[in-house]
Point group: C2
């Protein structure tokens, strides 16, 4: 691991016209590391930039054995480090973020610093280095409590309900304005919650952790009827790749989700079946769920489907794959 400009291990891939030199912020995170692997699979060069505050070095084990991969330990609050590390790249995948959606009155500035100012720093590094393409992981939370469900990209102008959503919306706005002002091109992806390999926080994780510790009982926050929409991480990555290939507007905004949702009780049943346990369920009650529980986010995904993309996994199978991954990677329960 080096700081400063990266030399690629196995030389440059230049010469193949469609190949990219990618700069992936948060590349050691859940979605980020899946993107890194996919980009390497497709023959692109990748510089991963991560501060390992929540990212895991082990998520990069496969990447680090391959050519065309470089790793820089750095924080997106550090504008100089960003500028140095991204030099020579042509496309940014900006995944680094405070992804802890839980309501945080004890540090209300965290989302602003990491998600809004951090995105500004990434854009400034791009502008200074002449990098013209950025993909951004936004969130369905930017729709607040939308009156339209499933929610399309051009839903009525929303009112923000979370600091997380507000900070991501601000990031979207900065990217769009930079695209307009500095002749960049942006792909903004509004995610539902993502599941799959390397998933390491959220309710499936919490349920598994609890069941490994004590398979006899499971406490469910809320009344279990809360609805949740999920997308499998490899379907998410595929959608990003397809959209960046096919959408050529200056600013391209796409919802990413499936056409289904599950109730928390369904999710609990799938998890317990997969683990072969039969816990006694207790409910905290109330429709709100746990602290920081989101309102129902269910996105209309016709725009990305019109590109030919379809999710390959159902939500049920995504949950099963996630549970298996968590079961087979006990170290992750300790790391978090």
């Amino acid at each position: 691991m080096r700081c400063g400009q990266v030399k690629f291990r196995n030389g440059s891939l230049e010469g193949k016209a469609t190949l990219m030199k990618c700069f992936v912020t948060g590349g050691a995170g859940f979605v980020g590391s899946n993107i890194v692997d996919r980009l390497l699979d497709d023959g692109h060069e990748v510089v991963c930039f991560d501060d390992f505050s929540t990212g895991q070095r082990r998520f990069l084990e496969a990447a680090e054995r391959r050519g065309g991969f470089g790793l820089v330990r750095g924080n997106i609050q550090d504008a100089d480090a960003l500028q140095t590390a991204s030099k020579g790249c042509d496309t940014v995948f900006h995944l680094a973020a405070n992804a802890d959606v839980r309501f945080g009155p004890e540090h209300p500035g965290k989302d602003l610093e990491q998600n809004t100012v951090g995105t500004f720093n990434v854009l400034e590094a791009m502008r200074r280095n002449g990098i013209a393409r950025i993909a951004f992981s936004s969130t369905g939370s930017v729709y607040g409590e939308s009156p339209v469900i499933p929610t399309p990209e051009d839903a009525p102008f929303p009112v923000q309900t979370s600091l997380y959503g507000a900070s991501k919306l601000a990031g979207e706005g900065l990217i769009s304005a930079y695209c307009e002002a500095f002749d960049m091109r942006g792909w903004i992806f509004r995610f539902v919650s993502i599941l799959g390999e390397r998933y390491s926080h959220g309710h499936v994780f919490d349920f598994c952790k609890s069941l490994f510790q004590d398979p006899s009982t499971l406490r469910v926050l809320g009344d279990g009827t809360q609805r949740k929409s999920y997308l499998y991480v490899k379907d998410c990555v595929e959608a990003i790749v397809v959209a960046m290939e096919k959408c050529r507007e200056k600013v391209n905004i796409l919802n990413l989700g499936t056409d289904e949702y599950v109730k928390v009780n369904d999710s609990v049943r799938i998890i317990t079946n997969e683990l072969g346990v039969s816990p006694f369920l207790t409910y905290s009650g109330g429709s709100q769920g746990w602290i920081g529980d989101n309102p129902f986010i269910f996105l209309k995904c016709e725009r990305v489907r019109s590109l030919g993309w379809r999710p390959r996994e159902t939500i049920a199978d995504s949950i099963r794959k996630t549970v298996r991954y968590i079961r087979d990677n006990g170290w992750l329960l300790e790391a978090r």
Copy 2:
């Protein structure tokens, strides 16, 4: 002028239940100082917080002669100063901003710092001081290039086209999220351009300045057919007062404008008639207008009209009042 907590000159107005202790950021600016005067007229106490980077001490001459007024020189980048100065207030009017909409590639961080992070600092000062009400000067620029004109508050989710609009949208998002998280109440006003007494930047100002220097010619940027929507500053202030009285949602978002617009050529005719000059007009050509010229912003204002508010001035009369004000306040041409 004192720094630190303010003592009101003529004692407190406490005891009258409906009276407010107001903290006005940017209170020495164009709109801010008009709000200060109106609040004092209505019997409220006012602490004006301004760094005088663009605000004018002379705009506060009347206020400074009155009771219930305090002035603190400070910058909204200074979180501690904000917290100290706003202590004891119950309502914030957050007007301080970088209002220079012109495209600024030489300082792309200015809008973020002053309009987004500055708004965050104001909200943090409120949270720490237990201040629960905030009125915010946003802008019709947050609609980007709306497909719907006139544009209602719940127009399709816009794509940002300017760093200024993006920074104000981010401010809106922060305010909404704070209202949700910390039990505050917000009034967000999306302004068209404002005209009237103390107006000190924008195209009417530039035209007047040019004509005072040389009444024989006037250079018009663009082809003169660009459409502009304006609101008279006292109508704007009246709408803010009415909305804060009548709108009781957690987050109240209101467009502020008139039902008319003018073309730049109409505006030129009104200005030259008012000044009694007949310049030879030259045009730079193109529909875009000057650097940083906005797309046409024309807002649907049914929501604020449903409260009983009506603008008293036409755009033509607003322009005339503005021209007279600039003519009678030559010092302002030097100050800017």
